[in-house]
Amino acid sequence: MQSSCQLDMDYRLFQFINRHAGHTPLLDAVARLLVSDYLLTTAIGFLAAGLWFVGQTPAERAPNQRAVLQGGVSLLLANALVKLVNLLYFRPRPFASHEVNLLFYRPSDSSLPSNPAAVGFSLAVAVWLTHRKVGGGMLFLATLWSAARIYCGVHYPLDVVAGAAIGAFAAYLIVRQTPVLNRVYDWLIGLGERLFLT
């Protein structure tokens, strides 16, 4: 699937980033927090869910609320696409093939594409296509999470780029190419407004 030259460059870039891990306790502690399965995911989720309430009137809130729902659907599609790629191709993790500075547990699934990158970027891009500020914040957090995965030794750079591309593609498809879902979104938005905002 990739030429050995590309993989070699990918490993060299990985080494350039990962070689710093394990030498600076403060940086390592921060990286461990950023790479965890809980913190940045939740922060991204809070931004997305908080977008639901942005706007003074129902008319102002509606596009933002639709973006939140589209983000959720994009996330599911991105996950499905990652699973599909995993059925076709398996790439060993960096620690499985090389001596690395590992700051995290050892996942056993395919290294490429990065599922966290796909998930983070699908949600972030879906929101960004509607709301640049909140989406921009989510893109920043998704990038931070992806970078931490490389620093901590669990992904190559190409893995997170591939994951981000899958996530962005899923978001674009859902936001721009599936108007058929708009009725469902509108029904859910109406329900939410009646339950919590009136």
Binding site: D37, Y38, T42, G45, G55, N79, Y105, N115, F196, T198
Partner: protein, 105 residues
């Protein structure tokens, strides 16, 4: 696909999202005058509600980091974390709504 973590970690995460998202809702409610979700009466000023919201978010994350050393072990599968997150956010919304209603907002 499924990797259910220890109940203790799941409960900690649920509490993190419950308190943290309540804080997010308070910041939004103050900013956009969503009276049906406000927990504090601000008399037109934004800072009490914003301060409450930011404090809740900071407290939730800080407590989770200190109280959950297992957060660096394998985390929950996507389905489990999604279920915990969505349940906690809906519960947070219900708590804000009910409390605001009881306070007469």
């Amino acid at each position: 696909m499924l990797n259910f973590v220890e109940p203790r970690v799941a409960v900690h995460y649920f509490v993190l999202v419950l308190i943290g998202f309540t804080g997010v809702v308070q910041i939004a409610a103050v900013r956009y005058q969503l009276k049906s979700l406000l927990l504090v009466s601000s008399q037109g000023q934004q800072w009490p509600g914003t301060l409450l919201g930011l404090s809740m978010i900071t407290l939730a994350f800080t407590w989770f980091i200190i109280a959950t050393p297992e957060m660096l072990l394998p985390g929950p599968a996507g389905f489990e974390i999604g279920l915990l997150f969505s349940t906690a956010t809906v519960l947070a919304l219900c708590i804000c709504r009910l409390t605001a209603a009881l306070l007469g907002r």
